[in-house]
């Protein structure tokens, strides 16, 4: 589904990603861990098309298409979803309006007619139930005045609405208390399917107790320096990143 080959990216003149190789197959859950500044968030930004970063080398194909050739909106319409580490507040734009616009843009891309008002409301209702999000959050402006936990829940709700093929959760656990974490993780798990893949970017192992990965990768200095099964996360939790850094430097 996603094939990343020797991906290099920089911001201004600083090279952050220095040769990433990664392949993700349908239905797989990959965790990407690593110390601060390793390039985890940069990877998610580059994959989703944030223009702040410049890709200098390498290739990424997504379901057979050259991903780097697509605009951010087309990547989303192709089925890429990013759950933001810091979701943006948009006062005055209602969740309903925002979601309907997004859903219809996806439908248009697929050559479908806009969704009817009643179908849309039903869709909202179903997805709210699925991810267990508070009903009144969707009656408000996008993320306006939401707590940290509410913002993250809202990201998962949006993911449920847009039904992506590949979801990237960028530090979705940061700043969440244990209850919110559980709601978010449950939402993600309920959306799991044999076709849908997930990349979980996290600093800590805790989230991986709830969203169990098939593979764990350690990103350090812009490269994946170690890949293994889920047990690697526990090892990192126990021993920290120093041994990896050491191994890498040697």
């Amino acid at each position: 589904m996603l094939v990343i080959k020797d991906l290099h990216a920089k911001i201004e003149d600083k090279e952050i990603l220095r040769g990433i190789n990664l392949e993700i197959k349908p239905g797989e859950v990959h965790a990407i861990m690593g110390p601060n500044g390793a390039g985890k968030s940069t990877l998610s930004s580059v994959l989703t098309g944030n223009e702040k970063f410049e890709v200098v080398d390498g290739s990424v194909t997504f379901n057979g298409k050259d991903l780097l050739d697509l605009s951010p909106e087309d990547r989303a319409r192709e089925g890429m979803f990013l759950s933001f580490q810091y979701p943006i507040e948009i006062p005055g734009v209602s969740m309903v309006n925002f979601m309907r616009t997004a859903v219809n843009e996806h439908r248009k891309y697929r050559g479908e007619d806009p969704i009817s008002a009643s179908d849309f409301l039903k869709l909202m209702r179903d997805k709210k139930k699925l991810v267990d999000i508070d009903s009144n959050l969707t009656n408000r402006s996008v993320n306006e005045g939401f707590s940290g936990g509410e913002k993250k829940k809202n990201e998962i709700f949006q993911m449920a609405m847009l039904e992506p093929k590949l979801a990237i959760l960028d530090e979705t656990d940061s700043g969440l208390d244990i209850d919110a974490l559980r709601v978010v993780a449950n939402g993600v798990n309920k959306l799991k399917s044999p076709e849908r893949s997930t990349i979980v970017i996290t600093h800590y192992q805790r989230l991986l107790d709830y969203i169990v990965p098939d593979y764990v990768h350690v990103l350090y200095k812009g490269r994946i320096v170690k890949s293994a099964g889920k047990e690697l996360a526990l090892e990192l939790e126990e021993k920290g990143y120093d041994w990896i850094k050491k191994e890498f430097e040697d």
Binding site: G49, K52, E73, A76, I90, P91, G92, F98, T101, E105
Partner: protein
């Protein structure tokens, strides 16, 4: 009677015009209006049309706009009554009491049976008969004729406008909408003079809508005086929707008495050159005033909001918020003067001006001016200038929303705060829709840019 004149030297011709036409100007006008003309024209003669050398007009040199060939109507034949029937109101769902002015002249109004007892809505020319006491007492009392030469010009020349009187204790459920339509086949200068009196414990919400219906060059000088008596509630929403060849100088002057609560909101959706003066005087304790504005500009448009809020007495509050979204090579200015008198203790005054510049060429001059002579007050002011947030843009695009639509959503999110301040629910809805349309470039003034020939740099025009 219509007079066509060519203005080159400003005062000289305007003074001559005044002297030549004085009999017509005076004819049919209330005594009180006529009694102030001589002094006003002297002030105008002395000061002239302000250039940017006048401090208060530093960012808007009006002289070029008051020059050239212009027509003036000195009798009410300019009030083509047929125009109002063709007028398509942008605020159709609103249940309002409507008053139409054409080229500054009172033209038509809804039947008086739709008004509560005692409420007077009429032409200024009839005001002295229909509400003699109130008219005598308040006309010319609030507008700063001595300080502002354009107010002086208006006081000297104005012959008509809307007069509204709400007697003690009467609450108008329906807003009153005063629509001024500029139209005709000639370039035109028009004066409009309104007087609004809201008596003790009365409530009035009104809209002042400024429109253009033909493609000519229009110069409009409007002065509205408002007297808000004790315990009254007054809202005015000035909706400006004029084509790019329009110059409007508009003064809104409000005088407040004890426990009154007023709101002004200048919604400049589309205009050529707009200068909005807002002056609020809190002349008693426990007054509350809300002064808001939203200006959306593109191409070569220019909007200058000049506000002054006077806290003359203790325990009053004022809230001021102006926001602007500027595209292409448009420019704007904001001046927020807050004056707190020596004895006006326990004053609360908040002021904020935020601007969103969409291009490198758009420009804003923002100037807070606080003059505080009391020592126990809370006053704050802030001004910001920014661009569309890249992170927010990316957030929307990452959800599959295209770039243009994302821009519209973010611009709307920026403007939204001012729209939220509207205290008439259906109007709020309507303005929301109009602002969104404006951002999408679907506004009905689009045809005007073909006329004025100012190219838009993007889809905002056609």
């Amino acid at each position: 009677m219509n007079v066509a004149c060519r203005i080159v030297d400003l005062q000289e011709e305007y003074i001559k015009l005044f002297n030549d036409q004085l009999p017509l100007i005076q004819s049919g006008s209330p005594e009180k209006m006529n009694s102030l003309r001589e002094e006003a024209i002297k002030i105008f003669e002395e000061k002239g049309i302000p250039s940017n050398k006048v401090e208060a007009y530093k960012y808007t040199n009006l002289q070029p706009y008051f020059k050239g060939s212009l027509n003036l109507a000195f009798t009410n034949e300019a009030a083509h009554t047929d125009v109002t029937q063709h007028f398509h109101c942008e605020v159709p769902q609103l249940n309002t009491y409507n008053v139409f002015l054409v080229n500054g002249w009172f033209s038509a109004k809804d039947s008086d049976t739709n008004l509560p007892d005692g409420v007077v809505v009429c032409s200024m020319r009839e005001a002295a008969e229909k509400a003699p006491e109130a008219f005598e007492k308040h006309y010319g009392e609030i507008a700063p004729t001595k300080e502002d030469s354009l107010v002086a010009m208006n006081t000297a020349f104005a012959q008509d406008g809307a007069f509204i009187y709400v007697p003690k204790g009467v609450v108008l459920e329906k807003p009153i909408q005063v629509v001024n339509i500029m139209t005709g086949d000639e370039d035109r200068l028009a004066f409009q003079r309104n007087l609004i009196i809201v008596e003790e414990n009365a409530q009035l919400k009104m809209m002042l809508c400024d429109h253009t219906m033909s493609a000519q060059r229009f110069v409009v000088n409007t002065v509205t005086e408002v007297f808000a008596n004790q315990n009254s509630v007054f809202d005015v929403y000035n909706v400006q929707n004029q084509h790019n060849l329009t110059t409007q100088v508009q003064g809104l002057y409000v005088h407040q008495k004890k426990h009154s609560n007023i709101l002004t909101n200048n919604l400049t959706l589309h205009s050529g050159i707009a200068r909005n003066n807002v002056g609020v005087i809190m002349d008693d304790e426990q007054c509350e005033s809300h002064v808001y504005g939203l200006y959306l500009t593109d191409k070569n448009q220019h909007v200058d909001n000049f506000t002054s809020i006077n806290h003359d007495k203790p325990n009053c509050q004022s809230f001021e918020l102006f926001k602007g979204v500027m595209d292409d090579s448009s420019t704007a200015a904001f001046t927020g003067k807050v004056f707190v008198a020596k004895d006006a203790q326990k004053t609360n005054a908040y002021q904020s001006n935020n601007n969103l510049l969409l291009t490198q060429n758009a420009k804003i001059n923002s100037k807070p001016q606080l003059e505080i002579y009391a020592d126990d007050v809370k006053c704050s002011h802030g001004a910001t200038v920014g661009q569309l947030d890249d992170e927010a843009m990316f957030y929307l695009r990452a959800r599959g929303i295209n770039q243009d639509e994302s821009r519209v959503l973010l611009m709307f999110a920026f403007a939204y705060e001012v729209i939220e301040k509207i205290r008439v629910e259906p109007l709020k809805e309507q303005i929301r829709g109009l602002v969104e349309k404006r951002f999408r470039g679907e506004f009905d003034k689009c045809d005007s840019c073909v006329v004025c020939g100012q190219p838009g740099s993007n889809a905002s025009c056609l």
